[in-house]
């Protein structure tokens, strides 16, 4: 039993609970996705509905007339936040940082801690480029693509509210859909890459962010690779101004070989990825909460791997810190 699991039952009445996005309370029925989990008492249901993130646990419990035992029973369906959660996503506007992701979960798993720390001082837009968001290990809970997609959007929206960032979900076809697109004699991947890069450049031109973060495509998934290659070629071609950073999209515990391959990509290149770590110790508990909200696409084990990887990254950082996230900033190497 880990300390973090035990701490999930240590609840602060001053914290701000919000129902996890994959949990729904309809009437007195609770669902995980669309899988019925339990039937609640009216007080329990009222308490869950009161947990909107903009009022404290004490206030939520008071509204629903819920006692401590009631709160404890429902605690694992709630995400606990240390400050009021924004009631709506931040409205669109100029941004200083653009974070791109192939899947909606990747930017939060790879750089959620950093985003939590830096977003208050750095207006941030998180863009999920591919739209179908259809993978789920939980067949019973999310039996259709549409339900996975809906739950994924709920997750993305909540995480953006928690972190105080703008977010946008594009609708580019993911790799599995692209495979079904029939176009005689033409390379759909190339066309999709062109379309994606054009769209990204149009966005960058309109927002002019000083920093852009993209996935390092360490797991080799076609969508992440498409995004990575689009940004890499745009940077190499001087098609936008600003810094280009890559974040890990595979837990380093699982992906050391992939990192080697990532680095080897730049051998003999005039582009050089400079690795650096960001201390996320102050936001680690909040990142843990973020990870717990991502459930329709990833299992608990995968979420834990990301949290353990933060420990590893912290130990390897210089100087060592308790928790860290790894990034690479792309520079133009000096030519001797």
């Amino acid at each position: 039993m880990s300390a973090s699991q035990i701490s999930s039952l240590v609840l602060d009445p001053r914290s701000f609970p919000v129902l996890k996005p994959h949990i729904s309370c309809v009437g007195t029925d609770v669902y995980f996705g669309s899988f019925p989990l339990a039937q609640l008492t009216p007080i329990e249901a009222e308490f869950l509905r009161a947990c909107t993130g903009d009022r404290s646990l004490a206030d939520s419990a008071r509204i629903a007339n819920a006692d401590a035992a009631c709160v404890a029973r429902l605690s694992s369906w709630l995400l606990w936040w240390g400050r009021p959660v924004l009631s709506a996503a931040i409205s669109p506007g100029p941004v200083a940082r653009l974070v791109l992701g192939a899947r909606h979960s990747a930017p939060w798993l790879g750089m959620g801690g950093r985003t939590l720390i830096e977003a208050p001082g750095l207006r941030t837009l998180v863009v999920n480029c591919f739209g179908s968001l259809g993978d789920s290990p939980f067949v019973d809970a999310f039996p259709s693509l549409s339900e996975v997609s809906a739950a994924s959007r709920d997750e993305a929206a909540l995480l953006s509210r928690l972190a105080g960032v703008q977010h946008s979900i594009w609708e580019f076809p993911d790799s599995m859909l692209r495979e079904t697109l029939v176009d005689s004699g033409r390379d759909v991947e190339t066309l999709a890459a062109t379309a994606l890069q054009n769209q990204l450049l149009a966005l960058i031109a309109s927002l002019r962010p000083s920093q852009i973060f993209a996935p390092a495509a360490l797991d080799g998934s076609p969508d992440a690779v498409l995004l990575f290659e689009s940004m890499l070629s745009a940077f190499a071609g001087g098609l936008f101004e600003g810094e280009l950073h890559f974040y890990e999209d595979v837990p380093p515990l699982d992906g050391y070989r992939a990192i080697d391959e990532f680095m080897s990509r730049f051998e003999n290149s005039y582009l050089s990825p400079r690795a650096y770590d960001v201390d996320i110790t102050s936001a680690f508990q909040e990142k843990s909460a973020l990870v717990s909200a991502l459930r329709c696409n990833i299992g608990q084990q995968s979420g834990n791997a990301w949290l353990q990887s933060a420990t590893l990254r912290g130990a390897l950082a210089s100087p060592p810190v308790p928790y860290a996230e790894r990034f690479w900033r792309l520079d133009v190497a000096s030519i001797c």
Binding site: L37, S76, D140, S146
Partner: protein
Amino acid sequence: MSHPFVEPPLLLVIGWNDAEYSEKGRQSIVALATHLRDSAGIRACLAAAPAEPAARQWLFSFLGSLKRAMGATAGIIIRASELGPGDLTASSTNGLDEVVIIQDTPDPEAAIETVRRFQQSGTPSALGIRIWLDVPGTSFQSLTCAWKYATHAALRVELPPFRQISSNGIPPTTRGESQQLACEWLRTTITVSSHGEIVPCPAYLTHHAQGKAQGERPPADIAVDLAQRRNAWMGTGGSHPVCASCNRLVRFAGPFETEIPAQPVARILPAPAFIDHVGRDASQFSDDDRANAMRKLLERVHAAGGLGPS
């Protein structure tokens, strides 16, 4: 006459932004439908119901006649906030195939009750019902569960192929016509406003409302133009082959395209039997851990003055 389309298109008529279908608009829609029947054919027609009752009745009648005369599949889109008890009955009696209810309010209960009453009325009907969730800022999953479990019918609850309210976070751009029309929507769907004006896809209705539409054009011109622009996304011409406003390449398939999957979608990853991953955190505590955690919780609760009656 050669068909300009590989397959007959879906005709989508969006009228509610114009409050009602004007007399001129009705004539344009009838003319376009007739022209398409004679040229490309119509696979299906889906039309948004106007708020004005007489216009809505005309639309029911038009769709019914379209179905009878052309054999096209016919459906109507109605906002949940405007769904009346008679709408489902009228759809059924006019022979429509499907009603698409756009859930545009956070509380679905009123619309659910309307559907439930229709189902319980015993009216013999093959009318399909589909729900499109379009309430930004609300839990899609909660709405899905509410609809799925309240009506006990094979409803399709899904995200809409277009949104009435853009939650995209990116303001629509104002690009040239050729770029706007490079929209994947046109692969299968012809979208016209209630004034008979064609728009690239429903995402552009805002532009239309702001007077930025292209203006009325003869149906023949529209058909030829569309034929030339098919597969626009696949074409490399132009610097922005993807619709610059909506970016939507995934859910362009409108209604009538697919059946309810009998099995979970194939792309879902193989997985072990369902486990309550949400409740497991607490259930895995040992008795001692649970007791300690509960003791700490109660201590903090008492220290903070309690949580109310206990």
